[in-house]
Protein backbone atom coordinates (compact mmCIF):
# COMPACT_ATOMS: atom_id res chain seq x y z
CA UNK A 1 0.00 0.00 0.00
CA UNK A 2 2.68 2.41 1.10
CA UNK A 3 4.95 1.31 -1.74
CA UNK A 4 2.09 2.00 -4.13
CA UNK A 5 1.89 5.54 -2.78
CA UNK A 6 5.63 6.07 -3.19
CA UNK A 7 5.51 4.80 -6.76
CA UNK A 8 2.61 7.14 -7.44
CA UNK A 9 4.48 10.11 -5.97
CA UNK A 10 7.62 9.26 -7.90
CA UNK A 11 5.64 9.00 -11.12
CA UNK A 12 4.03 12.35 -10.39
CA UNK A 13 7.42 13.91 -9.67
CA UNK A 14 8.73 12.54 -12.97
CA UNK A 15 5.79 13.89 -14.93
CA UNK A 16 6.12 17.30 -13.29
CA UNK A 17 9.87 17.53 -13.88
CA UNK A 18 9.44 16.36 -17.48
CA UNK A 19 6.86 19.08 -18.01
CA UNK A 20 9.25 21.56 -16.39
CA UNK A 21 12.06 20.52 -18.70
CA UNK A 22 9.79 20.86 -21.73
CA UNK A 23 8.75 24.33 -20.61
CA UNK A 24 12.39 25.36 -20.21
CA UNK A 25 12.88 24.57 -23.89
CA UNK A 26 10.55 27.41 -24.81
CA UNK A 27 11.88 30.94 -25.04
CA UNK A 28 8.97 33.26 -24.36
CA UNK A 29 9.52 36.48 -26.28
CA UNK A 30 7.68 39.70 -25.50
CA UNK A 31 7.15 41.99 -28.49
CA UNK A 32 5.06 44.98 -29.50
CA UNK A 33 4.22 43.83 -33.01
CA UNK A 34 3.33 47.19 -34.54
CA UNK A 35 6.74 48.43 -35.54
CA UNK A 36 7.67 47.40 -39.08
CA UNK A 37 10.17 46.42 -40.36
CA UNK A 38 11.28 45.05 -36.98
CA UNK A 39 8.14 43.36 -35.74
CA UNK A 40 4.66 43.29 -37.19
CA UNK A 41 1.89 40.91 -38.09
CA UNK A 42 1.85 39.75 -41.70
CA UNK A 43 -1.43 40.82 -43.38
CA UNK A 44 -1.84 37.57 -45.25
CA UNK A 45 -0.52 34.86 -42.95
CA UNK A 46 -1.24 36.48 -39.59
CA UNK A 47 2.27 35.47 -38.44
CA UNK A 48 4.70 37.60 -36.47
CA UNK A 49 7.36 38.72 -38.93
CA UNK A 50 10.13 41.30 -39.25
CA UNK A 51 13.84 41.60 -38.59
CA UNK A 52 13.63 41.03 -34.83
CA UNK A 53 11.29 38.06 -35.21
CA UNK A 54 13.55 36.36 -37.75
CA UNK A 55 16.63 37.12 -35.64
CA UNK A 56 15.24 35.72 -32.40
CA UNK A 57 14.06 32.57 -34.18
CA UNK A 58 17.52 32.01 -35.65
CA UNK A 59 19.11 32.64 -32.26
CA UNK A 60 16.69 30.34 -30.42
CA UNK A 61 17.39 27.57 -32.95
CA UNK A 62 21.08 27.83 -32.05
CA UNK A 63 20.16 27.74 -28.36
CA UNK A 64 18.05 24.62 -28.92
CA UNK A 65 14.87 26.39 -27.89
CA UNK A 66 11.40 26.95 -29.29
CA UNK A 67 10.13 30.50 -29.65
CA UNK A 68 6.79 31.58 -28.27
CA UNK A 69 5.87 35.12 -29.30
CA UNK A 70 3.78 37.14 -26.85
CA UNK A 71 2.41 40.33 -28.38
CA UNK A 72 2.01 43.10 -25.84
CA UNK A 73 1.45 46.86 -25.57
CA UNK A 74 4.62 48.90 -25.75
CA UNK A 75 3.93 50.92 -22.62
CA UNK A 76 3.59 47.72 -20.59
CA UNK A 77 6.38 45.74 -22.21
CA UNK A 78 9.04 46.14 -19.48
CA UNK A 79 6.59 45.68 -16.58
CA UNK A 80 5.44 42.48 -18.37
CA UNK A 81 9.03 41.20 -18.47
CA UNK A 82 9.57 42.08 -14.80
CA UNK A 83 6.34 40.28 -13.90
CA UNK A 84 7.62 37.14 -15.66
CA UNK A 85 5.11 36.99 -18.53
CA UNK A 86 8.00 36.31 -20.90
CA UNK A 87 11.75 35.62 -20.70
CA UNK A 88 13.12 38.25 -23.08
CA UNK A 89 12.03 41.31 -25.04
CA UNK A 90 13.17 41.81 -28.61
CA UNK A 91 11.21 44.75 -29.89
CA UNK A 92 13.51 47.36 -31.45
CA UNK A 93 14.30 48.41 -27.89
CA UNK A 94 17.07 50.96 -27.55
CA UNK A 95 19.54 50.37 -24.73
CA UNK A 96 19.13 53.37 -22.41
CA UNK A 97 20.38 54.09 -18.90
CA UNK A 98 16.84 54.35 -17.59
CA UNK A 99 15.88 50.96 -18.98
CA UNK A 100 19.19 49.39 -17.95
CA UNK A 101 18.33 50.19 -14.33
CA UNK A 102 15.26 47.96 -14.60
CA UNK A 103 16.48 45.20 -16.95
CA UNK A 104 19.67 43.66 -18.35
CA UNK A 105 20.50 44.06 -22.02
CA UNK A 106 22.25 41.72 -24.44
CA UNK A 107 25.07 42.97 -26.64
CA UNK A 108 23.75 45.53 -29.12
CA UNK A 109 22.31 43.93 -32.24
CA UNK A 110 21.35 46.97 -34.26
CA UNK A 111 22.43 50.61 -34.61
CA UNK A 112 19.96 53.32 -35.51
CA UNK A 113 18.91 56.84 -34.62
CA UNK A 114 15.97 59.17 -34.32
CA UNK A 115 14.83 61.18 -37.32
CA UNK A 116 12.34 63.98 -37.86
CA UNK A 117 9.50 63.23 -40.27
CA UNK A 118 7.49 66.09 -41.80
CA UNK A 119 5.05 66.69 -44.66
CA UNK A 120 6.68 66.18 -48.07
CA UNK A 121 6.18 69.86 -48.92
CA UNK A 122 7.40 71.28 -45.61
CA UNK A 123 10.83 72.93 -45.83
CA UNK A 124 10.58 74.95 -42.62
CA UNK A 125 12.01 72.15 -40.45
CA UNK A 126 15.62 71.15 -41.16
CA UNK A 127 17.13 70.44 -37.74
CA UNK A 128 15.82 69.55 -34.27
CA UNK A 129 16.18 73.25 -33.30
CA UNK A 130 13.54 74.09 -35.94
CA UNK A 131 11.00 72.14 -33.90
CA UNK A 132 10.80 75.06 -31.45
CA UNK A 133 7.19 76.19 -31.28
CA UNK A 134 6.00 73.11 -33.19
CA UNK A 135 3.76 70.21 -32.22
CA UNK A 136 5.63 66.90 -32.31
CA UNK A 137 3.84 63.54 -32.34
CA UNK A 138 5.60 60.51 -30.84
CA UNK A 139 4.86 56.96 -29.73
CA UNK A 140 4.57 56.83 -25.95
CA UNK A 141 7.57 55.40 -24.14
CA UNK A 142 9.86 55.23 -27.21
CA UNK A 143 13.28 56.82 -27.52
CA UNK A 144 11.62 59.16 -30.03
CA UNK A 145 9.36 60.34 -27.20
CA UNK A 146 12.34 60.97 -24.91
CA UNK A 147 14.42 62.59 -27.67
CA UNK A 148 11.54 64.93 -28.56
CA UNK A 149 11.18 66.00 -24.94
CA UNK A 150 14.85 66.89 -24.80
CA UNK A 151 14.49 69.34 -27.71
CA UNK A 152 14.12 72.85 -26.31
CA UNK A 153 11.13 75.04 -27.07
CA UNK A 154 8.85 72.37 -28.58
CA UNK A 155 5.27 73.65 -28.18
CA UNK A 156 3.84 70.25 -27.37
CA UNK A 157 4.95 66.62 -27.46
CA UNK A 158 1.82 64.55 -28.14
CA UNK A 159 1.97 60.92 -27.04
CA UNK A 160 0.21 58.30 -29.14
CA UNK A 161 -0.17 54.62 -28.35
CA UNK A 162 1.23 53.41 -31.68
CA UNK A 163 3.65 54.77 -34.27
CA UNK A 164 1.02 54.66 -37.09
CA UNK A 165 -1.24 56.95 -35.03
CA UNK A 166 1.59 59.45 -34.60
CA UNK A 167 2.02 59.45 -38.41
CA UNK A 168 -1.74 59.82 -38.82
CA UNK A 169 -1.64 62.84 -36.51
CA UNK A 170 1.00 64.39 -38.77
CA UNK A 171 -0.92 63.59 -41.96
CA UNK A 172 -4.19 65.02 -40.61
CA UNK A 173 -2.52 68.25 -39.48
CA UNK A 174 -2.62 67.48 -35.75
CA UNK A 175 1.14 67.68 -35.52
CA UNK A 176 3.95 69.41 -37.44
CA UNK A 177 6.44 66.56 -37.15
CA UNK A 178 7.00 63.03 -35.89
CA UNK A 179 10.18 61.95 -34.10
CA UNK A 180 10.74 58.24 -34.61
CA UNK A 181 13.35 55.54 -35.30
CA UNK A 182 14.92 56.00 -38.71
CA UNK A 183 13.86 52.63 -40.11
CA UNK A 184 10.29 52.97 -38.96
CA UNK A 185 10.20 56.33 -40.75
CA UNK A 186 11.60 54.79 -43.92
CA UNK A 187 9.03 52.00 -43.77
CA UNK A 188 6.16 54.48 -43.33
CA UNK A 189 7.32 56.58 -46.25
CA UNK A 190 7.76 53.49 -48.40
CA UNK A 191 4.18 52.43 -47.57
CA UNK A 192 2.68 55.87 -48.31
CA UNK A 193 4.96 57.52 -50.87
CA UNK A 194 4.72 61.26 -51.53
CA UNK A 195 2.99 62.27 -48.30
CA UNK A 196 5.82 62.52 -45.79
CA UNK A 197 9.61 62.80 -45.82
CA UNK A 198 12.56 62.33 -43.50
CA UNK A 199 14.54 65.46 -42.69
CA UNK A 200 18.32 65.03 -43.00
CA UNK A 201 20.25 62.45 -40.99
CA UNK A 202 19.41 60.81 -37.64
CA UNK A 203 20.15 63.24 -34.79
CA UNK A 204 20.81 60.53 -32.20
CA UNK A 205 22.80 57.30 -32.20
CA UNK A 206 21.17 54.34 -30.50
CA UNK A 207 21.68 50.63 -30.17
CA UNK A 208 18.96 48.04 -29.90
CA UNK A 209 19.36 45.26 -27.35
CA UNK A 210 17.47 42.21 -26.16
CA UNK A 211 16.14 42.78 -22.63
CA UNK A 212 16.08 40.20 -19.82
CA UNK A 213 15.20 40.25 -16.15
CA UNK A 214 18.19 41.03 -13.98
CA UNK A 215 19.94 38.01 -12.47
CA UNK A 216 19.47 35.65 -15.43
CA UNK A 217 23.17 35.43 -16.27
CA UNK A 218 22.90 31.98 -17.88
CA UNK A 219 20.25 33.08 -20.33
CA UNK A 220 22.12 36.34 -21.01
CA UNK A 221 25.31 34.41 -21.84
CA UNK A 222 23.39 31.99 -24.10
CA UNK A 223 21.77 34.89 -25.93
CA UNK A 224 25.04 36.76 -26.46
CA UNK A 225 26.64 33.55 -27.70
CA UNK A 226 23.79 32.89 -30.15
CA UNK A 227 23.95 36.51 -31.33
CA UNK A 228 27.69 36.19 -31.99
CA UNK A 229 27.02 32.97 -33.91
CA UNK A 230 24.39 34.44 -36.23
CA UNK A 231 26.66 37.41 -36.88
CA UNK A 232 29.67 35.17 -37.63
CA UNK A 233 27.95 32.70 -39.95
CA UNK A 234 26.37 35.30 -42.24
CA UNK A 235 22.79 34.75 -41.09
CA UNK A 236 22.61 38.26 -39.65
CA UNK A 237 23.62 39.86 -42.97
CA UNK A 238 21.06 37.75 -44.76
CA UNK A 239 18.30 38.90 -42.39
CA UNK A 240 19.47 42.50 -42.76
CA UNK A 241 19.20 42.28 -46.53
CA UNK A 242 15.75 40.67 -46.39
CA UNK A 243 14.06 42.84 -43.78
CA UNK A 244 15.95 46.14 -43.65
CA UNK A 245 17.06 46.66 -47.23
CA UNK A 246 13.97 44.91 -48.57
CA UNK A 247 15.88 42.85 -51.13
Amino acid sequence: MRRGLIVLLLTLALVVSAAGAAAAQTLRVGVNAAFPPFEYIDDETGEYVGFDMALIREMAARMGMEVEIINTAWDGIIPGLLAGHYDVIISAMTITNERAQAVDFSDPYFATGQVIVVHAGDDSIQTPADLAGKVVAVQIGTTGHFAAERIEGVASVDHYQFAPEAFLALKTGRADAVVVDELVAIQEIRANPGELKVVGQPFTVEYYGIALRKGREDLLRAINRALAQVRADGTYDELYRTWILGE
Binding site: D75, G76, I78, P79, L82, E98, R99, A102, A137, I140, G141, H145, D158, H159, Y160, Q161, E165, L168, A169, T172, G173, R174
Partner: protein
Amino acid sequence: MGLDWGLIVRSLPALGQGAVTTLTLTVISISLGLVLGTVIGLMRLARIWMVGAVASAYVWFFRGTPLLIQLFLIYYAMPPLLGITLDRWQAGIIALSLNSAAYIAEIVRAGIQSIDVGQTEAAQALGLTKFQTAWFIILPQAFRRIIPPLGNEFILLLKDSSLVSVIALEELLRAGQLIVTRTFKPVEIYALIAIIYLIMTSAISVLVTFTERWLRVETRGDQRRTRGARGVARAGAP
Protein backbone atom coordinates in the same frame (compact mmCIF):
# COMPACT_ATOMS: atom_id res chain seq x y z
CA MET B 1 8.43 43.74 -3.19
CA GLY B 2 8.56 47.10 -1.43
CA LEU B 3 6.57 50.07 -2.57
CA ASP B 4 8.45 53.14 -3.74
CA TRP B 5 6.81 55.82 -1.61
CA GLY B 6 9.07 58.57 -2.93
CA LEU B 7 7.80 57.81 -6.44
CA ILE B 8 4.21 58.02 -5.22
CA VAL B 9 4.81 61.46 -3.72
CA ARG B 10 6.73 62.69 -6.77
CA SER B 11 3.96 61.50 -9.09
CA LEU B 12 1.13 63.28 -7.32
CA PRO B 13 1.40 66.67 -9.07
CA ALA B 14 1.34 65.12 -12.57
CA LEU B 15 -1.47 62.76 -11.64
CA GLY B 16 -3.39 65.62 -10.00
CA GLN B 17 -3.12 67.54 -13.26
CA GLY B 18 -4.44 64.47 -15.09
CA ALA B 19 -7.31 64.13 -12.61
CA VAL B 20 -8.32 67.75 -13.24
CA THR B 21 -8.38 67.04 -16.98
CA THR B 22 -10.46 63.89 -16.43
CA LEU B 23 -12.94 65.68 -14.18
CA THR B 24 -13.28 68.74 -16.42
CA LEU B 25 -13.80 66.57 -19.47
CA THR B 26 -16.40 64.42 -17.70
CA VAL B 27 -18.39 67.26 -16.12
CA ILE B 28 -18.65 69.19 -19.40
CA SER B 29 -19.53 66.04 -21.34
CA ILE B 30 -22.15 64.75 -18.90
CA SER B 31 -23.80 68.20 -18.88
CA LEU B 32 -23.98 68.37 -22.67
CA GLY B 33 -24.97 64.70 -22.76
CA LEU B 34 -27.79 65.36 -20.30
CA VAL B 35 -29.30 68.12 -22.47
CA LEU B 36 -28.93 66.16 -25.72
CA GLY B 37 -29.97 62.88 -24.10
CA THR B 38 -33.16 64.42 -22.66
CA VAL B 39 -34.10 65.79 -26.08
CA ILE B 40 -33.44 62.44 -27.73
CA GLY B 41 -35.25 60.54 -24.97
CA LEU B 42 -38.32 62.76 -25.47
CA MET B 43 -38.01 62.35 -29.25
CA ARG B 44 -38.17 58.58 -28.81
CA LEU B 45 -41.59 59.02 -27.18
CA ALA B 46 -42.89 61.34 -29.88
CA ARG B 47 -46.08 60.43 -31.74
CA ILE B 48 -44.59 61.41 -35.10
CA TRP B 49 -42.80 58.26 -36.24
CA MET B 50 -40.04 60.08 -38.15
CA VAL B 51 -38.93 61.87 -34.98
CA GLY B 52 -38.91 58.61 -33.05
CA ALA B 53 -36.97 56.86 -35.81
CA VAL B 54 -34.25 59.53 -35.88
CA ALA B 55 -33.85 59.25 -32.12
CA SER B 56 -33.80 55.43 -32.27
CA ALA B 57 -31.16 55.50 -35.01
CA TYR B 58 -29.04 57.82 -32.87
CA VAL B 59 -29.21 55.54 -29.85
CA TRP B 60 -28.64 52.49 -32.05
CA PHE B 61 -25.42 53.92 -33.48
CA PHE B 62 -23.84 55.52 -30.43
CA ARG B 63 -24.73 52.72 -28.05
CA GLY B 64 -23.84 50.02 -30.57
CA THR B 65 -20.27 51.11 -31.48
CA PRO B 66 -17.26 51.35 -29.19
CA LEU B 67 -16.53 54.79 -27.73
CA LEU B 68 -12.89 54.25 -28.69
CA ILE B 69 -13.83 54.10 -32.36
CA GLN B 70 -16.18 57.07 -32.08
CA LEU B 71 -13.31 59.10 -30.63
CA PHE B 72 -10.97 57.95 -33.33
CA LEU B 73 -13.42 58.77 -36.14
CA ILE B 74 -14.30 62.18 -34.74
CA TYR B 75 -10.65 63.09 -34.33
CA TYR B 76 -9.13 61.60 -37.47
CA ALA B 77 -11.92 61.06 -40.01
CA MET B 78 -13.65 64.44 -39.71
CA PRO B 79 -10.84 66.53 -41.25
CA PRO B 80 -10.66 64.59 -44.55
CA LEU B 81 -14.42 63.85 -44.76
CA LEU B 82 -16.01 67.11 -43.63
CA GLY B 83 -13.11 69.55 -43.63
CA ILE B 84 -13.66 70.22 -39.93
CA THR B 85 -10.59 70.09 -37.71
CA LEU B 86 -11.33 69.79 -34.03
CA ASP B 87 -8.65 70.08 -31.39
CA ARG B 88 -8.22 67.26 -28.87
CA TRP B 89 -10.43 68.85 -26.23
CA GLN B 90 -13.23 69.53 -28.71
CA ALA B 91 -13.04 66.04 -30.19
CA GLY B 92 -12.92 64.44 -26.74
CA ILE B 93 -15.86 66.43 -25.38
CA ILE B 94 -17.95 65.85 -28.49
CA ALA B 95 -17.33 62.10 -28.51
CA LEU B 96 -18.02 61.69 -24.79
CA SER B 97 -21.15 63.89 -24.95
CA LEU B 98 -22.59 62.14 -28.00
CA ASN B 99 -21.90 58.74 -26.47
CA SER B 100 -23.35 59.50 -23.04
CA ALA B 101 -26.39 61.18 -24.66
CA ALA B 102 -27.36 57.82 -26.16
CA TYR B 103 -27.39 56.16 -22.74
CA ILE B 104 -29.06 59.13 -21.04
CA ALA B 105 -31.78 59.14 -23.73
CA GLU B 106 -32.67 55.58 -22.74
CA ILE B 107 -32.61 56.47 -19.04
CA VAL B 108 -34.94 59.43 -19.66
CA ARG B 109 -37.28 57.41 -21.86
CA ALA B 110 -37.50 54.56 -19.36
CA GLY B 111 -38.03 57.04 -16.52
CA ILE B 112 -40.96 58.69 -18.26
CA GLN B 113 -42.50 55.39 -19.31
CA SER B 114 -42.26 54.13 -15.73
CA ILE B 115 -44.79 56.73 -14.56
CA ASP B 116 -48.18 55.08 -14.28
CA VAL B 117 -50.55 55.94 -17.11
CA GLY B 118 -53.18 56.72 -14.46
CA GLN B 119 -51.24 59.92 -13.67
CA THR B 120 -51.79 61.17 -17.20
CA GLU B 121 -55.43 60.16 -17.14
CA ALA B 122 -55.97 61.88 -13.81
CA ALA B 123 -54.24 65.06 -15.01
CA GLN B 124 -56.36 65.13 -18.14
CA ALA B 125 -59.49 64.47 -16.10
CA LEU B 126 -58.62 67.59 -14.10
CA GLY B 127 -58.46 69.53 -17.35
CA LEU B 128 -54.67 69.96 -17.63
CA THR B 129 -53.27 70.44 -21.14
CA LYS B 130 -50.75 67.97 -22.57
CA PHE B 131 -47.88 70.36 -21.85
CA GLN B 132 -49.07 70.96 -18.29
CA THR B 133 -49.41 67.22 -17.75
CA ALA B 134 -45.84 66.64 -18.94
CA TRP B 135 -44.27 69.61 -17.15
CA PHE B 136 -46.05 69.51 -13.79
CA ILE B 137 -47.07 65.88 -13.37
CA ILE B 138 -44.94 63.43 -15.38
CA LEU B 139 -41.47 65.02 -15.65
CA PRO B 140 -41.01 65.88 -11.93
CA GLN B 141 -41.84 62.30 -10.99
CA ALA B 142 -39.72 60.85 -13.78
CA PHE B 143 -36.79 63.07 -12.81
CA ARG B 144 -36.79 61.66 -9.31
CA ARG B 145 -36.62 58.12 -10.67
CA ILE B 146 -33.80 58.76 -13.14
CA ILE B 147 -31.41 60.28 -10.59
CA PRO B 148 -29.83 56.92 -9.58
CA PRO B 149 -29.23 55.67 -13.15
CA LEU B 150 -27.92 59.15 -14.10
CA GLY B 151 -25.43 58.90 -11.26
CA ASN B 152 -24.37 55.54 -12.67
CA GLU B 153 -23.87 57.04 -16.10
CA PHE B 154 -21.82 59.89 -14.60
CA ILE B 155 -19.48 57.40 -12.91
CA LEU B 156 -19.21 55.24 -16.03
CA LEU B 157 -18.39 58.27 -18.15
CA LEU B 158 -15.71 59.40 -15.70
CA LYS B 159 -13.97 56.05 -16.10
CA ASP B 160 -14.60 55.79 -19.85
CA SER B 161 -13.06 59.22 -20.32
CA SER B 162 -9.66 57.52 -19.99
CA LEU B 163 -10.17 56.45 -23.63
CA VAL B 164 -9.45 60.01 -24.81
CA SER B 165 -5.77 59.18 -24.34
CA VAL B 166 -5.90 57.64 -27.85
CA ILE B 167 -6.15 61.15 -29.24
CA ALA B 168 -3.16 62.18 -27.09
CA LEU B 169 -5.21 64.05 -24.50
CA GLU B 170 -3.36 63.66 -21.22
CA GLU B 171 -6.00 62.66 -18.72
CA LEU B 172 -5.40 60.77 -15.49
CA LEU B 173 -4.62 57.33 -16.91
CA ARG B 174 -2.29 58.67 -19.61
CA ALA B 175 -0.52 60.88 -17.09
CA GLY B 176 0.18 57.69 -15.15
CA GLN B 177 1.30 55.77 -18.25
CA LEU B 178 3.80 58.52 -18.99
CA ILE B 179 5.32 58.06 -15.53
CA VAL B 180 5.39 54.27 -15.97
CA THR B 181 7.29 54.57 -19.27
CA ARG B 182 10.12 56.24 -17.36
CA THR B 183 10.04 54.41 -14.05
CA PHE B 184 8.76 50.92 -15.03
CA LYS B 185 6.85 50.83 -11.75
CA PRO B 186 3.25 50.21 -12.77
CA VAL B 187 2.12 48.83 -9.40
CA GLU B 188 2.64 52.07 -7.46
CA ILE B 189 1.31 54.30 -10.20
CA TYR B 190 -1.76 52.28 -11.16
CA ALA B 191 -2.71 51.73 -7.52
CA LEU B 192 -2.47 55.47 -6.96
CA ILE B 193 -4.58 56.11 -10.06
CA ALA B 194 -7.20 53.66 -8.80
CA ILE B 195 -7.38 55.59 -5.52
CA ILE B 196 -7.75 58.91 -7.32
CA TYR B 197 -10.56 57.49 -9.47
CA LEU B 198 -12.21 56.14 -6.30
CA ILE B 199 -12.08 59.57 -4.68
CA MET B 200 -13.72 61.13 -7.72
CA THR B 201 -16.39 58.45 -8.11
CA SER B 202 -17.14 58.61 -4.36
CA ALA B 203 -17.69 62.35 -4.68
CA ILE B 204 -20.17 61.69 -7.48
CA SER B 205 -21.95 59.05 -5.37
CA VAL B 206 -22.29 61.50 -2.50
CA LEU B 207 -23.63 64.13 -4.87
CA VAL B 208 -26.21 61.69 -6.21
CA THR B 209 -27.25 60.59 -2.72
CA PHE B 210 -27.71 64.19 -1.62
CA THR B 211 -29.79 65.01 -4.69
CA GLU B 212 -31.94 61.95 -4.06
CA ARG B 213 -32.42 62.79 -0.39
CA TRP B 214 -33.20 66.41 -1.17
CA LEU B 215 -35.90 65.36 -3.60
CA ARG B 216 -37.23 62.72 -1.24
CA VAL B 217 -37.52 65.22 1.65
CA GLU B 218 -39.65 67.38 -0.58
CA THR B 219 -41.88 64.42 -1.31
CA ARG B 220 -42.12 63.37 2.30
CA GLY B 221 -43.14 66.92 3.26
CA ASP B 222 -45.94 66.74 0.73
CA GLN B 223 -47.07 63.43 2.15
CA ARG B 224 -46.99 64.72 5.71
CA ARG B 225 -49.12 67.68 4.74
CA THR B 226 -51.58 65.41 3.04
CA ARG B 227 -51.72 63.12 6.00
CA GLY B 228 -52.19 66.09 8.33
CA ALA B 229 -55.04 67.43 6.28
CA ARG B 230 -56.66 64.05 6.30
CA GLY B 231 -56.27 63.85 10.06
CA VAL B 232 -57.97 67.20 10.52
CA ALA B 233 -60.80 66.06 8.30
CA ARG B 234 -61.17 62.92 10.35
CA ALA B 235 -61.02 64.80 13.65
CA GLY B 236 -63.68 67.17 12.47
CA ALA B 237 -66.00 64.33 11.63
CA PRO B 238 -68.46 63.32 14.37
